[in-house]
Amino acid sequence: MRQFLSQLLALAAPSVPAAGAQAHAFLNQAVPPVGGAVPTSPKEIRLTFSEGIEPRFSGIEIATGDGQPVATGPAVPDPGDDKLLVLSLPQLAPGQYRVRWHVVSVDTHRTEGDYTFTVGR
């Protein structure tokens, strides 16, 4: 019974992986923040996920409030953290932007999402 409970806690805990298993990757942190505002153009978008991600099948795109894509390079994983995906940005004019992301966790589960943030004047 004690062993069963230990295994159960391991499955439930957000930070304790079960041997050989990964889960769907949910967004855990976003910079700039979801629905937030920043006073000046950010240098990059940093998205942290709940699981390690497969960079070849993951990406971030950004568009202006009226849907025009913003030209960027590809999103790249942080060398020291396989849960962190980073997109370098050009200088952004004041206004609202929409970030779209899609990731594939290392066990091949795909998830996606989007959110907006505002650059101040």
Partner: protein, 308 residues
């Protein structure tokens, strides 16, 4: 589930509660675009999945005759292909009639359901599923626990809709989602022990508010674990007899509660409030531990049997 609250009341209640038992055997772990739909306890989920509910412990409200019952359910959902799946479920039951010793054993029916996922619309966070379920007679203790001696066949339509596609000007409504089911139950015997078994119309809904969607898709309000994985919800389920002398009689429950989901499991807890006198009186409760087999065993039993 409602079987326990109604079985001693009328033959109609017995028959209709069979269908509610099907409805309580929820399944799955699903996405439509960026919307995550949890597996709900009462309302069948609108997607096929590789998941397991073990256990679901139900403390039923007192029946109109004063009897109390506790159910312990298990359910397995398995995908055959990415769009085709089946579920199997059954339950153990402890029934304590007023003034009599408790009786235990397999209650209700062994339920099996075959489902086809006909709709996944990512932009509009919409899901649709059709299926057919069967609650097999004589798979529970008929005499002691009132389990059915007949099989019930039910064509099923389940659906889900997230409201993340609402305009940005309505941020606080975008975390809302609704899932639901509509089905008919057709018993294979018109009567049992002298009481009629009517055909039934069954429907239910789960109204959900995802704090995960709010925090990570709409507006960062500073939620952190475990609160950023909570989904408060209210589930309702009703069953109406259509014929054989019980036409129009309805039983149902209202179940407010909350679901928390983690990497590999989710935990749900709900109160059970009878929605009609036929259903029972007082209050009950249910808790469920639910495993995402597709996340725990992604390369074996957590994947479809066949891919195409």
């Amino acid at each position: 589930m409602l079987l326990l609250t109604c079985r001693r009341l009328t033959g109609f209640a017995v028959a209709t509660s069979l269908i509610i038992t099907h409805a309580s055997s929820a399944v799955a772990h699903g996405f439509a675009g960026d919307r995550f739909f949890p597996s709900t306890i009462l309302t069948p989920d609108p997607f096929v999945a590789d998941e397991m509910s073990l256990p679901t412990v139900i403390i039923n409200p007192p029946s109109p005759d004063g009897s109390r019952a506790i159910d312990i359910e298990a359910e397995l959902a398995k995908r055959i292909t990415p769009d085709l799946g089946f579920t199997l479920s059954h339950r153990w039951e402890r029934l304590k009639p007023a003034g009599l010793p408790a009786v235990t054993g397999l209650g209700g029916t062994l339920d099996a359901e075959l489902d086809y996922q006909f709709l996944v619309n990512a932009p509009h966070q919409a899901l649709g599923l059709i299926g057919v379920s069967a609650g097999f007679g004589h798979t529970g203790r008929v005499q002691a626990l009132g389990a059915p001696d007949f099989t019930t066949i039910s064509p099923v339509i389940n659906f889900g809709k997230g409201f993340g596609d609402l305009p940005e000007s309505m941020p606080w409504l975008r975390p809302l989602a609704i899932t639901g089911t509509v089905n008919f139950g057709f018993p294979t015997k018109t009567q049992s022990a002298g009481l009629p078994n009517p055909n039934t119309f069954n429907f239910g809904f789960a109204f959900q508010y995802s704090l995960e969607y709010l925090q990570y898709h709409v507006k960062d309000i500073g939620l952190s674990a475990p609160f950023d994985r909570l989904i408060p919800l209210v589930e309702v389920s009703f069953s109406t007899a259509l014929n054989r002398g019980f036409g129009g009689q309805t039983v149902g429950t209202i179940q407010p509660g909350v679901i928390w989901f983690g990497r590999y499991v989710q935990i749900g807890a709900e109160a059970i409030i009878p929605a009609s006198r036929l259903t029972g009186h007082g209050y009950g409760g249910v808790v469920q531990l639910h495993f995402y087999l597709d996340d725990i065993f992604p390369n074996s039993i957590g994947r479809p049997l066949f891919r195409y």
